[in-house]
C-alpha cells in the first residue's frame, strides 16, 4: 500500500477509506428500516448501521410492483434521527439513484437485487463514487466482478424476504468452497478459472493471496433468528444484515437486541440459548424452495 506522507494533502473516497468503512461494521448487525421510528429502535438495540428502504423485502414480495430507492425525505429524516451510519438501497445499475443517495449524505449504498433492476447490461461502476458500495453475490465469480467494479463490501444474496436461511447458507458455502479451490491453482490454472467463473484475474489473485475476499463479507437474505445469525457467523461471515426479520416479528426491539448479542457471541451456545429464549413469534416466512425460479430475487444481477 502506498501512502503519501504529505502533511497538506487530504485524500477522499480512496479504496482504503471505502473498505475501511466496511471494516468498522464487522461483527455487527445492519438492520432494514423503513422510517425514522424503526431506525431509532434499531439504534437502541445496538445495530451498527441501518439500511433505509421503502418497503422491506417481504412486503415487496407480497405487493409486487416496481421497487425503487426510498423517498429522499424519509432518508434525510432517518439520517437526522440516528447517530450510526445510514445505508440505503439503489436499483442494480441505477447510478442516478446512487448519486442522489450520495448527495443526501448516505454512508454506504447497497446496489440491491431486492429492488427492481434498472440496467439489463451493467451494474453501477462504483469506483466513480466517493462513498462505498455493498453488493450481493451467490458465488466467487459474482463477488469478484462486483469488487472489480469497486464494491467495498460483499454480502450473500440469500433469498430476501423469506425468513428462510437456506439460500444464504448456499451462497456462503459456495463462496468458501470456491475460495478453497484457488489454493491448488498455479498461474495457468488461475487464468482458466478466472475465465470459467468470469472473474477479473487481478481480483481473483487478491483473493488467493489472502485466502478470503479482500473486502468485508456479510450474510444477508433470510436471516430471521439469533441462531441464524450464529450459523452464518460460524460459516465465516464478518457480520449480518437483517431485512424483514426484525420488523415482521412480534417484538422487534427484543429480537433486534438478541440478534446483536448472538452475532458478537456467535460461538458461545450458552449465550445463544439465553438470548434465544422468549422472543415471541418470529416472522412466519416462506420456504425459499416454494418460490418459482423466475420470482427469486437472487437471480437478479449477474
Amino acid at each position: 500500500m502506498v501512502f503519501e506522507l504529505d502533511l497538506k494533502k487530504l485524500r477522499f473516497g480512496t479504496e482504503l477509506l471505502k473498505r475501511g468503512f466496511a471494516k468498522m461494521q464487522k461483527g455487527g448487525v445492519v438492520m432494514d428500516v423503513t422510517n425514522d421510528e424503526q431506525a431509532r429502535i434499531a439504534e437502541e438495540a445496538g445495530a451498527v448501521a441501518v439500511m433505509a428502504l421503502e418497503r422491506v423485502p417481504a412486503d415487496i414480495r407480497a405487493e409486487g410492483g416496481v421497487a425503487r430507492m426510498a423517498d429522499p425525505q424519509m432518508i434525510v429524516k432517518i439520517i437526522e434521527t440516528v447517530t450510526i451510519p445510514v445505508m440505503a438501497k439503489c436499483r442494480i445499475g441505477h447510478f442516478a439513484e446512487a448519486q442522489i443517495l450520495s448527495t443526501l449524505g448516505v454512508d454506504m449504498v447497497d446496489e440491491s437485487e431486492v429492488l427492481t433492476p434498472a440496467d439489463p447490461f451493467d451494474h453501477v461502476y462504483k469506483k466513480d463514487f466517493i462513498i462505498p458500495f455493498v453488493c450481493g453475490c451467490r458465488n466467487l465469480g459474482e463477488a469478484c466482478r462486483r469488487i472489480g467494479e469497486g464494491a467495498a463490501m460483499i454480502r450473500t444474496k440469500g433469498e430476501a424476504g423469506t425468513g428462510d436461511v437456506v439460500e444464504a447458507v448456499r451462497h456462503m458455502k459456495t463462496l468458501n468452497r470456491e475460495i478453497a479451490h484457488l489454493k491448488d491453482l498455479g498461474d495457468e490454472g488461475m487464468k482458466d478459472y478466472a475465465s470459467e467463473i468470469n472473474a477479473p484475474l487481478d481480483v481473483l489473485h487478491e483473493v488467493k493471496k489472502m485466502g478470503r475476499l479482500p473486502v468485508v463479507n456479510f450474510a444477508a437474505g433470510g436471516i430471521a433468528t439469533p441462531a441464524d445469525a450464529s450459523l452464518m457467523m460460524q460459516l465465516g461471515c464478518d457480520g449480518i444484515f437483517v431485512g424483514s426479520g426484525i420488523f415482521k416479528s412480534g417484538d422487534p426491539a427484543l429480537l433486534a437486541n438478541a440478534i446483536v448479542e448472538a452475532t458478537t457471541h456467535f460461538d458461545d451456545p450458552q449465550i445463544l440459548a439465553k438470548v434465544s429464549k422468549g422472543l415471541g413469534a418470529a416472522m412466519k416466512g416462506q420456504q425459499a424452495g416454494d418460490i418459482p425460479e423466475e420470482e427469486r430475487l437472487q437471480y437478479r444481477g449477474w
Binding site: L17, F21, K23, M24, Q25, K26, G27
Partner: protein
C-alpha cells in the same frame, strides 16, 4: 486474580475492526522483540487475564451496549483506575474513553468511561463522504504518520492531565493520559505500526 505469564494484550472483540488490531499488535510485538500474547476479549475472565487492552474502531453506541450487557464496562473502568491497566482506544474507543461528550453522546444515552480529561465530538469531520486520509505529525514520532479518518471523532478541548499528542486543524486527534492512549484515526488500517509500538512501550514501562 493477577495476570500470569506470558503477558497478554487483549483486543475487545465485541464489534469493529478487531482482526486488524490483532495483526498490527502482533507485528509491533515482534518488531520490538517483546514477549506478549495477543488475545481477544469478550468476557470478564478474558478481561481479567490481560495486562493491557485495546478498544478498536467500530460503532461506539454498539460497543458501549455490548460492554454494558456483558458486565465488561465496570470491570474495564475499575481495572484502568485501580490497577492502572494501559488501554488504547481508536475512533469508537477514543469516544468511549473521553470524560465529556457532545449532543450525539447524550442522544444515544452513552455513559462515557471517562478516563481522558477531554470533550469528544462524534463524527467531527462529517459523514462517510467526509472521511479522509492524510499525514499527521505525532509527538514522539520523527516522521509523519499516515492517518485514516473514517467518520472520525475528535476532542474539541482537553484539560487537566490530558497530554495532546497530535492535532489536525484545531482538533485533538491523539492524546495520552497516564495509562490511556487514544487516537481519532485508525493506525491498524495501515502497515505502519509505530503507534502500536508507542502503546506497547507504555505497557512495558
Amino acid at each position: 486474580m493477577r495476570p500470569v505469564e506470558p503477558k497478554r494484550i487483549g483486543v475487545f472483540a465485541l464489534q469493529g475492526d478487531v482482526s486488524e488490531h490483532i495483526s498490527a499488535m502482533k507485528n509491533a510485538v515482534r518488531s520490538l522483540g517483546y514477549e506478549y500474547e495477543v488475545i481477544t476479549i469478550r468476557n470478564k475472565d478474558e478481561l481479567e487475564s490481560v495486562n493491557a487492552a485495546i478498544l478498536p474502531g467500530g460503532e461506539s453506541t454498539t460497543i458501549y451496549r455490548l460492554l454494558v450487557n456483558f458486565g465488561l464496562y465496570d470491570l474495564l473502568k475499575e481495572r484502568c483506575l485501580d490497577t492502572k491497566m494501559p488501554v488504547f482506544g481508536t475512533c469508537a474507543g477514543m469516544v468511549l474513553l473521553a470524560k465529556e461528550g457532545d449532543e450525539q453522546v447524550r442522544k444515544t444515552e452513552t455513559r462515557l468511561i471517562g478516563l481522558v480529561d477531554a470533550k469528544v465530538r462524534r463524527n467531527a469531520f462529517g459523514r462517510q463522504k467526509g472521511s479522509f486520509e492524510t499525514a499527521v505529525e505525532i509527538k514522539g514520532l520523527n516522521e509523519p504518520f499516515p492517518a485514516v479518518f473514517i467518520r472520525a471523532p475528535a476532542y474539541e478541548k482537553s484539560w487537566g492531565r490530558a497530554e495532546v499528542l497530535s492535532t489536525f486543524r484545531n482538533n485533538i486527534i491523539m492524546a495520552k493520559q497516564r495509562n490511556v492512549l487514544v487516537s481519532a484515526f485508525h493506525p491498524e488500517l495501515t502497515n505502519d505500526i509505530r503507534v502500536h509500538e508507542l502503546f506497547l512501550k507504555m505497557v512495558e514501562a
